[in-house]
Subunit: 361 residues, 2 copies
């Protein structure tokens, strides 16, 4: 009844590859969860079995990220796009200032959605050079409540290698590099991440909030938009997205079993080096962003000649590679090499690039 | 690798039973979707395959519900609890009046969340009699923008058998009886339903909105909370909950194959009659709500003596019955008999009730 075709090398930017073991465990749970004769899709979110899923998922987030009790760990919906306005709505007092860095489409959206809630100051932007670098030298006004960053820019392929030295509390959209490398939670007032890159499927958003920041804005907020609602009820104020959370739990178990963030980061550094080295060496391709700001997650590159684009996509597809067409805003190619993508898939891509150069170089 | 235990008779109030064929197709798609060598959990929401899922899901909603082009069909997140404030935020002008009927916990919440957006008048309530009936004779102020109803009350087991005769545009929370019976869309300005009863798993909310009502309130609304955003982008403004929508599509295919809403309604009427007839005949049990307002979805009943509760739950469990403990607000038992629950499961429950009466009656 259950059949699997030959697996693809999936470089999709998101929703994205998850570990194969996660797919197998998820499929099993859909047919029969915990051998109780019920599907994970038909059980009550108030059942003991699902309460155990919620508890383990939160515990794994805390363990993997070294998140202490000073922070609430929430599982919400609506994606990062909903956090763009929920964060200022919950944290920014009427007329108060917040500082934002603009490094791509998503941070531009975060800025736009924050404006109605306070005095939003864009302290740095890489827009003039098509978001091909991460701004480094900028001042943050001392009276800002927080500094908002986008840690990794999925569309343009840039990533903060280190966060600004400012002592300002950071709010960070980590949607596309969450749990791909270690970070110090103490630097952040809040972190948010749509799950659908490194930590799960589409349909759940991980939000980590400093407890003493909840209610900071003093605004009247609809119940479902108030972080405190979800913190007080363990993300079970209303029916949570049961299956996406379950798959997140399976994915986090895999991250832990793989050795945690330090080990994951080493794997990711190694995979990215293989690919960037080839881009720099191969005459048929060129990188698009400043080398020092290159993302370990989304590797963007262009063909040396525009007529290379179609035949390279064709040759890649023949090798079982999928998802490497660049975003329409950046063009060319984008290979997303998230946690679950194996080194062997990167090596297949590099081999195709070399074969392409032999033929067209 | 994939094993199934003996299936249970699942009377859970939600998340709830879905057709067995849906579980099997969903599990297959997690291992290999459309035989492309990729999981449904790892494909881009912008892929042709997922765009086909979105298009088919919307087409099925329109076909099953006879929803014309005057209405937008949206797939959102955040559950009905998010619609409680989004509806008045989008539709109610500053200071304008809206009428609400209070028939249970969820309508009380809808009233509470609407209050900040206008002059909310509760035109009828069954609260004084613990929500055991549906109010029928009430006036709706002519200057109200809409009348808000909860079509079926999951916790208390009451349901509108027909909607109020008033010509006022209706906004209706149909979370627990959506697509369980026919309805005339022309009576409604908006319908919303968390999927996790009759139409899918937790994690997606179906919203049907009259297009000319979008933007009615004239308020400044965050992008993600504006129905127009999602209508303009076919519910793909941001990454939608891919898998919950896919499972909704499978469930809607099943509803269509079963004969559509008229056939589904006949099945549901028949199942409910079997169970209510037994409640009325059996000396060990009694119904909790007015007979004329009894829900076809959630059948609430009490033991004739409180000491019957534990042994009846035990006897039911031994017969493979799960999910019939009543909600803490109502007590006793609640058998939720949604679309996908077979008549044979209802018959098993009735047999247990009879065997219980032989032993304890």
């Amino acid at each position: 009844m259950i059949a699997t075709s030959t697996k693809k090398h999936n470089f999709s930017a998101g929703p994205a590859i998850l570990p194969q073991s996660v797919f197998e465990e998820a499929a099993q749970a859909i047919l029969d969860f915990n051998a109780h004769g019920l599907s994970i899709l038909e059980i009550s979110h108030r059942s003991k079995d699902f309460e155990a899923v919620m508890a383990e998922t939160e515990a794994l987030v805390r363990e993997i990220g070294s998140i202490g009790e000073r922070y609430a760990v929430l599982f919400l919906t609506g994606g990062a796009s909903t956090q763009f306005f929920m964060a200022p709505m919950n944290f920014l007092k009427e007329g108060e200032k917040a500082a934002y860095v603009e490094t791509g489409t998503w941070s531009s959206n975060a800025i736009k959605e924050a404006r109605p809630f306070g005095d939003i100051e864009v302290v740095a932007s890489s827009k003039e050079r098509n978001f091909t670098f991460i701004p480094k030298d900028f001042d943050v006004p001392k009276n800002a409540a927080y500094l908002h960053l986008t840690s990794n820019n999925t569309i343009y392929g840039t990533q903060y290698q280190k966060y600004p030295a400012s002592e300002m509390p950071l709010i960070c959209d980590m949607s596309s590099d969450m749990f791909s490398r270690p970070f110090d939670i103490e630097r952040f007032a809040m972190i948010y991440a749509g799950a659908q890159k490194n930590i799960g499927p589409a349909g759940v958003t991980l939000v980590i909030v400093r407890k003493d920041w909840m209610g900071r804005s003093g605004r009247a907020i609809p119940t479902m938009l108030n972080y405190k609602t979800h913190a007080d009820k363990g993300s079970m104020y209303n029916t949570p997205p049961v299956f996406p959370i379950f798959v997140m739990m399976l994915t986090l178990r895999w991250i832990k079993a793989t050795g945690g963030l330090a080990a994951i980061n080493r794997r990711n550094v190694e995979k990215a080096k293989i690919l960037y080295d080839e881009i720099d060496a191969n005459p048929c391709f060129k990188g698009t962003v400043e080398k020092e700001d290159r993302s370990l997650m989304n590797v963007c590159f262009l063909p040396a000649k525009s007529e290379f684009e179609a035949p390279f996509l064709e040759m890649s597809a023949a090798a079982g590679i999928t998802g490497i067409k660049g975003h329409r805003s950046a063009g060319g190619f984008r290979a997303s090499i998230y946690n679950a993508l194996g080194k062997e898939s990167v090596q297949v891509l590099v081999e195709v690039m070399r074969a392409f150069a032999v033929k067209h170089g």
